[in-house]
């Protein structure tokens, strides 16, 4: 019973409900093919949601993730078109992600400018660089092995996307909940001043998180490029909304210091099942995004209402 009272327990019940409704609505939903498809179509968002959990628990935000995805993908496309071997282009694109993260960290940690402002500005700037690279063209014709990574099964029918999600989820879970670094992330998010007075190297932790965010976003951008087999200037535009929704729905506090990786993972599954279920009954992408918007508002409202409700009940007792 107590397990159900936690936010994760609540999410678990919601997830089962959505699965039940979707199965009821469409016979296709529970098939292996559709379930694999569901992950494959969203892998780029969900791996970024994992690292965004660290960012938000740490009391920061990274709005530039979708633009880093776009920049990495466009840089990759531009290099392949210019004749750089695809393997090398992948490495350089990942390095660009690291640079983007480091650039964010430079202003946030070095100058003490709030991450909201810095990443809002770099969200525009990185997207701008992506457009400078590919202008209004689309670039495709990547090597077959690259496209296959995003489109075909890697081990049997299981695609790279699903394997990456599984592996990265476990890694993210272990780092956040089982290492000293993870505890530092919570501690700094809960109270930065106390953490500083306790002698924690707050700047180093924050810088590492933003660099990791850049790297994973670049990886996500490459996966997206591989899945669709092409890049354009507006690739992954607006994904930050989905990603932040997943994390906040997972019970991570926007003010930092609270939340769990299992909450985020459950929320990812909920958002995936919800979008997939809506798509199966022919609800268009724009409406899906609108529903996600409502979900995002609800996910931040419910804890507050619950708190006031709890206080009222306590008073009555």
């Amino acid at each position: 019973m107590t397990a159900l009272r936690s936010w994760e327990g609540f999410l678990f019940v919601v997830l089962i409900l959505i699965y039940a409704v979707n199965t009821w609505n469409s016979p296709v939903f529970l098939t292996v093919g559709n379930q694999i498809n569901m992950f494959q179509l969203s892998v780029e968002k969900i791996i970024v949601a994992l690292v965004m959990t660290f960012v938000i628990i740490n009391g920061e935000i990274d709005l530039s993730v979708a633009s880093v995805m776009g920049l990495a993908a466009c840089a990759f496309g531009w290099m392949v078109q210019a004749g750089v071997p695809a393997g090398g282009a992948v490495m350089i694109a990942l390095a660009i992600g690291v640079l983007c993260g480091a650039f964010n960290a430079f202003w946030i940690v070095g100058f003490g400018i709030p991450s909201l402002v810095v990443t809002l500005a770099t969200m525009i700037a990185y997207r701008g660089f992506a457009r400078v690279l590919v202008e209004d063209r689309g670039i495709s014709d990547f090597p077959d092995w690259f496209d296959a990574l995003g489109q075909k099964g890697l081990i049997g029918p299981v695609p790279l996307a699903m394997i990456l999600f599984a592996v990265l989820s476990v890694v993210a879970f272990l780092i956040l909940q089982r290492t000293a670094f993870g505890r530092k992330v919570y501690f700094i998010g809960a109270s930065r001043a106390v953490a500083e007075y306790s002698g924690l190297n707050v700047r180093a932790v924050k810088a590492k998180i933003f660099i990791a965010s850049g790297l994973i976003s670049a990886l996500a951008g490459l996966l997206f490029a591989a899945r669709v087999g092409a890049v354009r200037g507006d690739i992954a535009n607006g994904f930050e909304l989905d990603i932040i929704t997943m994390v906040l729905l997972g019970g991570v506090s926007i003010f930092g210091g609270a939340g769990t990786m299992s909450g985020t993972i459950l929320a990812i599954l909920i958002v995936l099942a919800l979008r997939n279920g809506m798509a199966l009954v022919n609800i268009t992408g724009h409406i899906q995004t609108g529903v996600l918007g409502i979900l995002l508002i609800l996910s931040v409202t419910v804890p507050i209402i619950r708190e006031t409700g709890g206080r009222l009940i306590a008073r009555v007792r």
Binding site: L241, H286, T289, G293, V300, I305
Partner: protein, 331 residues
């Protein structure tokens, strides 16, 4: 003699603006002429409106990311209503657009002020939500110029008066009146000072008996209403409105506000600075297209870096000033 910080900011901004004009004048042939003014004044008029609305919100330590969707909705729904009722008296139409915008703003304001939700989350959500309302209710069809009354499509290009070759359009006059009204309201009225008080120190404002919730709600309603008015001008300027109308305007408005010297943490700023910020951003935007050395695709990259530099410069400057007088001063 010391120049007040606010005045200094405006002077610096004007200096940057003048330098930018001179720089492009040295790069582009036949740049400095009346056509430049005529070309950018119309779009600055629209951006300045939403930037002033955004400034009200930012002053209270909040942010409104839904503003682009509100402009799109206001333009689209106003156009739709005009097509259905073409005989609507013209003066009512901008008021109608402002009303539509205010309703959207009230939704944001209610969620932020009533439930104390972080505005960045609420407006990120309503950015998507309002856009999907637009897509859903339009069913993918567009508003086209030929279905709108001619007075409306002519309004955007009607001059109030001309000075030599400089054409001063009505929309520019409206925009300047709004900026000046907002400036006088924010600096000379008790209700206006409340926005600064809430933003600079919420606890002190609460102890002083100021109603933070009401002020924040009002800020979002003002932001929505001005976005609605901008939507009316947008409709008048372009005539053709699709479901992507106003996309990305929220970033330009935040850019204008930040470049214009409004503190992103709330509590300080000046809408005259915001007007110059809006003009500067639009000037760079339009001029880059004409500059042969770089491609027009640099616009976004430059805008992003400009915002970053403005904030960094402001942060460093403020810290220097605070360090110089550690005992505190008049500010």
């Amino acid at each position: 003699m010391r120049i007040p910080l606010g005045t200094l900011r405006i002077l610096v901004l004007l200096g940057v603006f003048a330098t930018t004009v001179l720089f492009f004048a040295s790069q582009i042939d036949g740049y400095l002429n009346a056509r430049l003014f005529n070309r950018i004044s119309g779009s600055v008029a629209v951006i300045a409106l939403i930037a002033v609305g955004q400034a009200f919100v930012v002053l209270t330590r909040n942010i409104d990311l839904s503003i682009g969707s509100v402009v799109g909705c206001a333009a689209y729904f106003t156009g739709g209503i005009l097509i259905a009722y073409p005989d609507l008296p013209p003066p009512l139409v901008p008021l109608l657009a402002m009303g539509i915008g205010a309703v959207f703003g009230a939704v944001n304001g209610f969620l932020v002020a009533r439930f104390r939700l972080p505005s960045i989350i609420v407006t990120l959500a309503t950015l998507a939500l309002f856009r999907s309302i637009l897509v859903q209710s339009s069913d993918g069809s567009s508003i086209t110029t030929n279905r709108l009354p001619t007075w409306l499509t002519e309004f955007a290009t009607t001059n109030a008066f001309t000075i030599g070759e400089l054409q001063i359009r009505w929309i520019v006059i409206v925009s300047i009146v709004v900026v000046l009204t907002a400036h006088v309201f924010l600096t000379r009225f008790r209700a206006g000072r409340t926005f600064f008080a809430i933003g600079s120190n919420p606890d002190a404002a609460a102890f002083a008996g100021l109603n933070a919730g009401r002020t924040i709600f009002l800020a979002f309603v003002i932001s929505g209403a001005l976005a609605g008015l901008a939507g009316f001008m947008f409709l008048s300027r372009f005539g053709n409105i699709t479901v992507v109308a106003g996309l990305g305007l929220e970033l330009k408005s935040v850019g204008a506000v930040v470049v214009g010297g409004v503190n992103i943490f709330g509590g300080s700023g000046n809408v005259l600075g915001v007007l110059i910020g809006a003009a500067l951003i639009d000037l760079i935007d339009t001029s880059l297209v004409r500059w042969e050395l770089v491609s027009a695709f640099w616009r976004e990259a430059v805008l992003g870096l400009l915002i970053l530099l403005a904030v960094a410069a402001d942060t460093v400057l403020m810290r220097r000033l605070l360090r110089r007088k550690p005992t505190g001063g008049t500010r």
